[in-house]
């Protein structure tokens, strides 16, 4: 992802244009037309970046299915296919100095953050070149240099952690925002409510990004929540909260910018309910008895990559060859990541007990 922060306030969902209102085209001046063309180019480039990120996540996850089936990757693996617009759109609104705390369905979050695909893939191979040295696996990707504070595999377990980082940012006087991803399942946990209350109470710079994919593992939203309007409930903690179409990357980006701007302006935590859907099972494979094929097909019809592609085509921002090129590059990156992971070394067993306590060389003042 680009990672450059663009402080474009109040873009309308779906019509993000980094063009100031005052720059409305005056068609009779060539200069203005040129300016507008440049602006249009920038928009097209931005859309292309978003598409590239979503394609990378999609191709990466698809390859994970195959590698898991071939027993190259083991353990629990939770795929993000269908939800790409969420991480991609939110990351577009975050800056590199912002921090991210994630869940166990975090490949997409990590890739969107800029964690190299090779490092994520190697981690799933359990190799020492993985972003957690093979100690974490799919559910525990960490890249502290990119302020990616990990996949947390305890549902809602990352929320207090994220609030604590936000508290540190606030006490230090930085204007960094902490984004915490969690799901509709976590919303039922006490830790969510404790954290929402505390974050609002202390005005912490926290973006609560709730990925509502309608199922807590196999339990539908309506079976686990008495009130299924999650944004409304979050608002009761005294924080701005609204629901967003999580299948529309531009809508997500727009909403995230609005929230991030509010947070940076000192208005405390914001809550986004990102309505989305995972096409695949909860974990790598499950019987998927809790959803119908029809339901999955209906969501596939709103596929975020297809939606953005069509929008770009209609706007003349994308032709077939360019799409093929973007897709090929995504697949090549995944292939390179896989090849590197295949040949990478594993951690020596002699290092089994490392990283339990600080090692002398690591000790910080």
């Amino acid at each position: 992802m680009t990672g450059t922060r663009k402080r474009t306030p109040k873009a309308e969902p779906g019509t993000v244009k980094a063009v100031p209102d005052t720059a409305k085209a005056t068609p009779d001046t060539a200069k203005a037309a040129e300016r507008a063309a440049r602006a249009d180019d920038a928009v097209a480039k931005h859309h292309s970046d978003l598409l590239a990120t979503m394609l990378l996540i999609r191709r990466f996850e698809e390859r994970c299915v195959e590698l898991y089936s071939a027993a190259k990757i083991r353990g629990f693996v939770h795929l993000y296919i269908g939800e790409e617009a969420v991480a991609t759109g939110i990351e577009a609104a975050l800056a590199p100095e912002d921090a991210v705390v994630s869940t166990y369905r975090e490949h997409g979050h990590a890739l969107a953050r800029g964690v190299p695909a090779a490092s994520v893939m190697a981690e799933m191979y359990g190799k020492s070149t993985g972003c957690s040295g093979g100690r974490g696996g799919s559910m525990h990707l960490f890249d502290v240099r990119r302020r990616f504070y990990g996949g947390n595999a305890i549902v809602a377990g990352g929320l207090p952690l994220a609030a604590g980082i936000a508290l540190a940012e606030k006490l230090r006087g930085s204007d960094a925002v902490v984004c915490c991803y969690f799901g509709d399942g976590a919303f039922a946990e006490g830790e969510f409510h404790e954290t929402a209350n505390l974050a609002a109470l202390w005005d912490l710079p926290l973006l609560l990004a709730c990925e509502n994919n309608l199922y807590a593992m196999g339990t539908p939203l309506a079976v686990e929540h008495a009130q299924t309007d999650l944004a409304m409930r979050a608002a009761s903690y005294g924080m701005p909260a609204w629901a967003v179409d999580g299948m529309d990357v531009l809508a997500v980006e727009s909403a995230a910018r609005r929230a991030v701007d509010g947070i940076r302006a000192g208005h405390g935590p914001h809550f986004l309910e990102l309505r989305t859907f995972r096409y695949r099972a909860h974990s790598m494979y499950d019987p998927d008895r809790y959803r119908t094929k029809t339901e999955i097909e209906q969501w596939r019809a709103h596929d975020p990559i297809t939606a953005l592609t069509e929008r770009m085509r209609n706007a003349g921002e994308l032709d077939e060859a360019t799409y093929e090129d973007l897709d090929a590059r995504a697949q090549q990156e995944v292939a390179r990541a896989e090849a590197a992971a295949e040949s990478a070394p594993v951690e020596p067993v002699g290092d089994l007990l490392r990283h339990i306590h600080t090692e002398p060389a690591e000790a910080q003042p």
């Binding site: 299915v65 898991y68 089936s69 071939a70 027993a71 083991r74 790598m284 494979y285 499950d286 019987p287």
Partner: protein
């Protein structure tokens, strides 16, 4: 062409069952198409193919249980050949099933015809064509198992219960003959063995045991004052201090210099076994109470023996002329330190007699006699400070008098230095008590349970002896036997003493 393989469908999946094919040979499949249903421990899961193409062969049938990674189908690029290939495909599947079954078939044939090399199994195997009964079948399977077992230690196979049992009884499984399948050691194999020790488990704390070894205190002689009579460190220290006190009083010289002449004299008193000198000066603080404690331990064992074991006693006087002459010859060229004494021949004769009369060599356990599988002579040694030590010469019946002599000297010397190992104080199958050095002529000893006999020898003395109608002076020794009447009757004891006599008349035979 590619293969569709059994996918890994979960973190713990190692194999899956093909429940259903959703395609047939010839079907064109797209990448991501669901083509089969696999049953895992969780549920039935529809699985997809990762390659577009044509299903050319199905390699597995519904119901097959296959490991992750096993090929299930071949996905080809060509469409046209599919119908043609479908027929061979099915026969290929059948063939591979046959191949898979082949090892099992080989097992069966091995069963009916065990390899000649597996002799024990072959002996038990029925003749070809014999009716197949359940038992032989099992034996045959063993035969094939044995045939494939690599060379090496024959067996150390035993289940955890058996291992525990063996450990509890102090039995080394490597020494046990297994009668179970494939030579496995069974519970019965272990249970029928006599315990390696004298069967009396001494309660002592770990520290007391360590201390006893360091101070060369025989735990059997220590009275425990801990809970349930457990011997504690204080008891061991008391026993040690008491011993040194008494030695200091009775044998002051021994505390200055340990005499080395013992075991080299030719006099009967020179028999090396009877005494063990102390190696450490008394540390003071000995008391009558401690002596009493040591005595109580001996009292307990001996009382038990006399209370429970109905003893009978036999004795015979043996002419040692031949033995003495043989010793003269044998010692002629030996340095004084290497000379043999009569005790070596007496031990040799006793050990071989015990082998000849196995009814006396073993243990009385749970109302039955259990013969020992070897002759381990426990040699009673009276301690100067009081008490008894019975170091054991293992496999004494296989040792020459020279070896017995060396063994005895070694045991006595190491006893002096406190270097006896616990294993050298346990395992005796028959006790020998030689009190010749104390000047007595016959020993009517008390059996050490659970042993069933004790052989005694008095001093070798010159006595008038009638032989072949003539009277002469000859060296003689009185040999006695204390027998446990529950295990044997007097006739058995008599056979034993007769054997000792006969063996001593032919010392060359003992030496060979």
């Amino acid at each position: 062409m590619g293969e569709f393989r059994m996918p890994a469908l979960g973190a713990d999946m190692v194999e899956g069952t093909l429940t259903e094919w959703l395609v047939k040979p010839g079907d064109v499949v797209a990448k991501g198409a669901v083509i089969a249903v696999i049953e895992t421990s969780k549920s039935d899961i529809e699985v997809e193919v990762f390659e577009a193409g044509t299903v050319t062969r199905l390699l597995a049938e519904p119901g097959d249980v296959l490991p992750v990674g096993a090929p299930l189908a071949v996905i080809g690029e060509a469409v046209e050949s599919a119908p043609v290939e479908s027929a061979p495909a099915e026969s290929a599947a059948v063939q591979s099933a046959e191949v898979a079954a082949a090892p099992a078939a080989e097992t069966v044939s091995a069963a009916t015809e065990p390899p000649a090399s597996t002799v024990p199994a072959a002996v038990e195997a029925p003749p070809p064509g014999a009716g197949v009964a359940p038992l032989p079948v099992r034996t045959e399977v063993d035969a094939s198992a044995q045939a494939t077992r690599p060379a090496g230690p024959p067996h150390l196979e035993a289940g955890p219960l058996v291992r525990h049992l063996a450990h509890e009884r102090g039995i080394d499984l490597a020494t046990v003959h297994g009668t179970g399948r494939g030579g496995r050691v069974t519970r019965a194999d272990v249970e029928q063995l006599p315990p390696p020790g004298n069967g009396i488990r001494i309660r002592a704390t770990p520290y007391a045991r360590r201390l006893a070894a360091e101070l060369r205190v025989e735990l059997a002689t220590v009275h425990g004052t801990g809970r349930d009579g457990a011997i504690r460190a204080a008891d061991v220290r008391g026993a040690s201090a008491r011993r040194h006190e008494e030695e200091a009083v009775r044998y002051p010289a021994a505390h200055k210099k340990a005499p080395e002449r013992r075991g080299t004299d030719r006099t009967p008193q020179a028999a090396p076994a009877p005494t063990v000198t102390a190696g450490r000066p008394a540390q003071g603080g000995a008391s009558g109470r401690r002596t009493a404690a040591m005595r109580r331990a001996i009292a307990e064992l001996m009382s038990r023996s006399k209370r429970e074991v109905p003893h009978y006693y036999l004795s015979t006087t043996i002419d040692l002329t031949a033995a003495t002459q043989w010793l003269h010859r044998a010692n002629r060229d030996r340095a004084p330190g290497e000379r043999l004494v009569p005790a070596a021949l007496l031990l040799a004769a006793t050990a071989r007699a015990a082998r000849e009369v196995p009814e006396l060599n073993g243990f009385w356990q749970e109302d039955a006699f259990v013969p020992a599988d070897a002759v381990h002579l426990a040699v009673a040694v009276s301690l100067r400070g009081g008490g008894l030590l019975t170091p054991v010469i293992h496999d004494a019946d296989r040792l020459s008098p020279q070896d017995l002599m060396a063994r005895l000297k070694d045991l006595v010397q190491r006893a002096r230095r406190g270097r006896l190992r616990a294993s050298e104080l346990s395992g005796g199958t028959l006790t020998v008590s030689n009190l010749g050095d104390q000047g007595v002529e016959s020993v009517l000893g008390v059996i050490h349970p659970p042993q069933v006999a004790l052989a005694g020898f008095g001093a070798v003395v010159e006595r008038p002896w009638a032989y072949d109608g003539m009277l002469g002076v000859r060296p003689v020794v009185t040999a006695t036997l204390s027998g446990d009447h529950r295990a044997t009757d007097g006739a058995v004891g008599a056979r034993f003493l007769t054997a000792v006599d006969r063996l001593l008349q032919n010392p060359e035979g003992l030496a060979s």
